[in-house]
């Protein structure tokens, strides 16, 4: 009985150590996917507002475009941090 328990534990321990790499890969993929949701929506909002501004006032399109790139850059940073975590977690 005791030996059976010991075997079970060793098998369980084995399973846990063997899964680490796989769990890391799943975590990396899920992490990047989740990190991309917010910035995706955010960049959509930024660009939509910028297009709205450009079509309403074409003479100030230059300023709107510059500000749009700034907004995209700040929003995109979050997705890129997710990408960095993905690279760091890769086996």
């Amino acid at each position: 009985m005791l030996s059976l328990l010991a075997t079970t534990f060793s098998i369980l321990a084995q399973a846990v150590t063997d899964n680490t790499e796989g769990l890391k890969a799943i975590g990396a993929g899920l992490g990047y996917g989740l990190a991309a949701i917010g910035p995706g929506i955010g960049i959509g909002v930024v660009v939509a507002a910028a297009i709205d501004a450009m079509t309403r006032q074409p003479e100030s399109a230059g300023t709107a475009r510059t500000t749009m790139f700034l907004g995209i850059a700040f929003t995109e940073a979050l997705a890129l941090i997710g990408f960095v975590v993905f690279i760091l977690l890769l086996p």
Binding site: G62, T63, T66, F69, L70, A73, E76, A77, L80, I81, F83, V84, I87, L90
Partner: protein, 254 residues
């Protein structure tokens, strides 16, 4: 690494190059160093040869250099710092062209590696920008004035400073240089991985079924075009964020 039965090279093989000169010393050279040196020489050559030929109507190299300077002045400096930022145009133009040249090697045949996909130079440039905007802030507003303007933004209720001040401290002094470097580096890494993925896919499918390679090869061409845009855009964004940080240090918000 096997991905979908494709023989995908391990990530370290795509970004780490063996040294070929001065091995084992601090001056060791590899492909990345060579690309940076080439980008440096290209930037210097562009402006020095354009400056040597003084003609009323710019032609050839002068035309490119003047267009670049005008672009940086009109759509980066004037939009963010105003007329008094004009004395920083040389610095920003050099930075823009250096980053652009080291990025564009991503799509140049037989070289095909964006040098900024290694972290060293992006973080060094971001730290340089950090030093410059802090120096400008202290110079223009005084040490305590600069700290007060950047840590205690006006128009916030007094009690909220308990939360706002630590956040502002992190975002101004730590997150800014880090995000500047990570943005450039991660965009180049992602672009390189994207191109490698489609190239490996095309090569493998060409070996097994000739017809199957058509779609990934077409995608590779499209993505190459997209990466030209990205390498321009990242140079633009790095430069414009530098200008914004410098402008914020010269002129605090009231």
């Amino acid at each position: 690494m096997k991905v979908l039965a494709l023989d995908f090279p391990p990530v370290s093989h795509l970004f780490e190059w063996p040294d070929f000169a001065f091995e084992g010393t601090h001056l060791a050279m590899n492909k990345t160093v060579l690309i940076y040196l080439f980008a440096l020489v290209l930037t210097m050559w562009l402006f020095m040869s354009a400056g040597a030929k003084k003609s009323l109507v710019p032609r050839g190299v002068s035309h490119v250099a003047e267009g670049g300077i005008n672009f940086v002045e009109d759509s980066i400096v004037m939009q963010t710092m105003g007329a008094e930022g004009k004395k920083y145009v040389p610095f920003l133009t050099t930075m823009f062209f250096f980053i652009f040249f080291s990025n564009i090697f991503e799509v140049i045949p037989f070289i095909q590696f964006p040098a900024n996909a290694r972290m060293a130079v992006p973080i060094a440039m971001a730290l340089l920008v950090w030093v410059i905007y802090n120096f400008l802030g202290v110079k223009n507003q005084g040490f305590f004035g600069y700290l007060k303007n950047s840590l205690f933004p006006p128009g916030v209720p007094k009690a909220l400073y308990l939360i706002v001040t630590p956040i502002e401290f992190f975002s101004v002094f730590i997150i800014r240089p880090l995000s500047l470097a990570i943005r450039l580096w991660a965009n180049m890494v992602a672009g390189h991985l994207l191109l490698v993925t489609f190239a490996v896919l095309s090569a493998t499918l060409w070996d097994s079924t000739y017809v199957g390679a058509v779609a990934p090869a077409a995608m590779l061409v499209i993505m190459t075009g997209f990466e030209i845009l990205v390498s321009f855009l990242q140079a633009f964004i790095f430069t414009i964020l530098t200008a914004v940080y410098m402008g914020g240090a010269i002129h605090p918000e009231h």
